[in-house]
Amino acid sequence: ELKVEQNPLFLSMQEGKNYTIYCNYSTTSDRLYWYRQDPGKSLESLFVLLSNGAVKQEGRLMASLDTKARLSTLHITAAVHDLSATYFCAVLIRGAGNMLTFGGGTRLMVKP
């Protein structure tokens, strides 16, 4: 059974600081996704990572994938309050209905 673990589960940080969220998964995967969820809202796609060494950046967020280590990271640079949300990584294994297995989520609070 595929397991996806994120850490930390909760992160409180000051504006302007940098931090990294980690996502480990237990079996070989075809794709890894990062989503953002604001309180009471739906999930918004941030990144999809397809291959080993893939790196994608959007604004203050940068995601990377190491398939050999089965590890993805979401790095936050110079955090701002607007980044406060819950971030999920999700792993897809094709041939299993394309169903995503989600990590437990990291709730990020950026304090002004």
Binding site: Q37, K41, G97
Partner: protein, 114 residues
């Protein structure tokens, strides 16, 4: 607007009742999904539906049944609702064969069983 939509947004009902949640996507996708998010925000896949092929997460009770009248719609019917069914249910859609294959999520249906 192109999107994944769900109705109703909120659903409050009594234990033992039967209820349905509707989902529609106008993104031209061929695969649709149902996810459950519990009170601890943990998200779990329930179903995947592609070209009339239903793939069920084996942990889902058979009180839950998806119904797809066409590629753009995937409804979720729940029989004999239980307290533990209270959660937020998200519908999502994607293109099966597309590299990347990002799943786009609906706004969610907040179900409360009393």
């Amino acid at each position: 607007d192109t999107a994944v939509s769900q109705t109703p947004k909120y659903l409050v009902t009594q234990m033992g009742n039967d209820k349905s949640i509707k989902c529609e996507q106008n993104l031209g996708h061929d695969t649709m999904y149902w996810y459950k998010q519990d009170s601890k925000k943990f998200l779990k896949i329930m179903f995947s539906y592609n070209n009339k092929e239903l793939i069920i997460n084996e942990t889902v009770p058979n009180r839950f049944s998806p119904k797809s009248p066409d590629k753009a719609h995937l409804n979720l019917h729940i029989n004999s609702l239980e307290l533990g069914d209270s959660a937020v249910y998200f519908c999502a859609s994607s293109l099966w064969g597309l590299a990347g294959g990002t799943q786009y999520f609906g706004p969610g249906t907040r179900l409360l069983v009393l």
